[in-house]
């Protein structure tokens, strides 16, 4: 049961991967199948049901891509 919901402003993402490493549930990945407007592989949540809404990813993101909601 998901406790959090992530919204990505994908076109700001630069694919640095800091959020991927910061996530305690390991549910974030860089989507290697897509490119955003800047030409980077954007970060995405592969298993939204596992999200706990801790906001570690959003806090670590240097480009303010992620908005976090908690239920």
């Amino acid at each position: 049961m998901a406790k959090g919901k992530l919204t990505f402003n994908e076109n700001l993402c630069k694919g640095c991967g800091l959020c991927v490493a910061a996530c305690p549930k390991k549910i974030l990945e860089l989507d290697k199948t897509r490119l955003n407007a800047k030409g980077y592989h954007p970060a995405t949540c592969v298993n939204p049901d596992e999200c706990i809404g801790c906001a570690f990813c959003a806090t670590q993101c240097p480009d303010v891509v992620i908005t976090v909601e908690r239920f």
Partner: protein, 274 residues
């Protein structure tokens, strides 16, 4: 459903021009959040420096000016002495503050100017393509120390927080980093404390933030974070170097602690006539 994290109003909509994984974005956000938390966005004045942060006036949604290379503390001095109720801060890198602007920062601290300095230390000149900075570690490879920094030829790194904390005029000096969630929260607390120090007119405050430069270090963003933890934190230990005992109440009002005005142990050989 509650929003626990959203882009702060203290930042403009303009996307950062910084390289992927650069810590400047995190530090910009912390400064902007502190301004919003203290309802100071309308009155604050920032001074941008030269370096990768030259464009920070485009990103932080308060009034900002840009100073000549290294001169941000001098410009901030003039602004603060005229706008006494504004929160005045400078945002400087290590090439700007520790090399070209050494005189300005030392004398701003010695005069105990009531300004706040956000000092971003990434051990390299970032914008000009990675030359050796005064803060470059011994043995670190840069474009102007291609065999690693050799102390017999290029000298030793400058620990800015340590030497500024020795000045009687410095009220609050702390070194933090932004490598993980806990450290980012500590960095935000340090910036908030520096804000309170200035609001209570206690004197000069400086927050040194250790940052990565993945591009010029030649590392992936995550590897750069690890390199910072393994190497930079040894040369530049985190912690509060001055003003650790200063405390504020919940409203940000000064409660206790040694400040330059009372803890100053300088020899006084005569009364000041006004």
């Amino acid at each position: 459903m509650a929003v626990v994290f959203e882009p702060t109003k203290g930042l403009t909509d303009k996307p950062f021009h910084y390289c992927p994984g650069c810590c400047h974005g995190i530090i910009h956000r912390l400064v902007a959040e502190t301004l919003v938390d203290n309802d100071a966005l309308e009155t604050a004045v920032g001074v941008a420096s030269v370096g990768c942060t030259y464009n920070s006036y485009e990103y932080i949604a308060c009034d900002m000016v840009q100073a000549a290379h290294g001169r941000a503390p001098a410009v901030a001095t003039g602004i603060k002495r005229n706008l006494k109720d504004s929160f005045v801060f400078t945002y400087q890198g290590d090439g700007d503050l520790a090399s070209i602007g050494t005189a300005e920062i030392v004398h701003a601290a010695a005069r105990s100017e009531n300004i706040t300095v956000i000092f971003v230390n990434n051990a390299v000149y970032g914008m000009t393509s990675g030359q050796m900075a005064p803060t470059t570690l011994v043995g670190q490879v840069t474009t102007t120390s291609p065999w690693g920094r050799d102390p017999s030829y290029q000298g030793y790194p400058i620990n800015v927080s340590e030497f500024l904390s020795n000045l009687a005029g410095a009220a609050y000096v702390e070194r933090v980093c932004v490598t993980d969630y806990k450290n980012i929260q500590n960095a935000k607390k340090a910036i908030q404390k520096a804000f309170n120090v200035q609001k209570n007119k206690l004197g000069f405050s400086l927050v040194e933030v250790l940052s990565t430069c993945p591009t010029n270090w030649g590392k992936e963003p995550l590897a750069a974070m690890d390199w910072l933890k393994e190497n930079m934190e040894k040369q530049y230990p985190l912690g509060c170097y001055k003003g650790a005992d200063i405390t504020f109440d919940a409203d940000g009002k000064y409660v206790s602690g040694a400040i330059p005005a009372t803890a100053n142990n300088c020899v006084n050989v005569g009364e000041v006539k006004k």
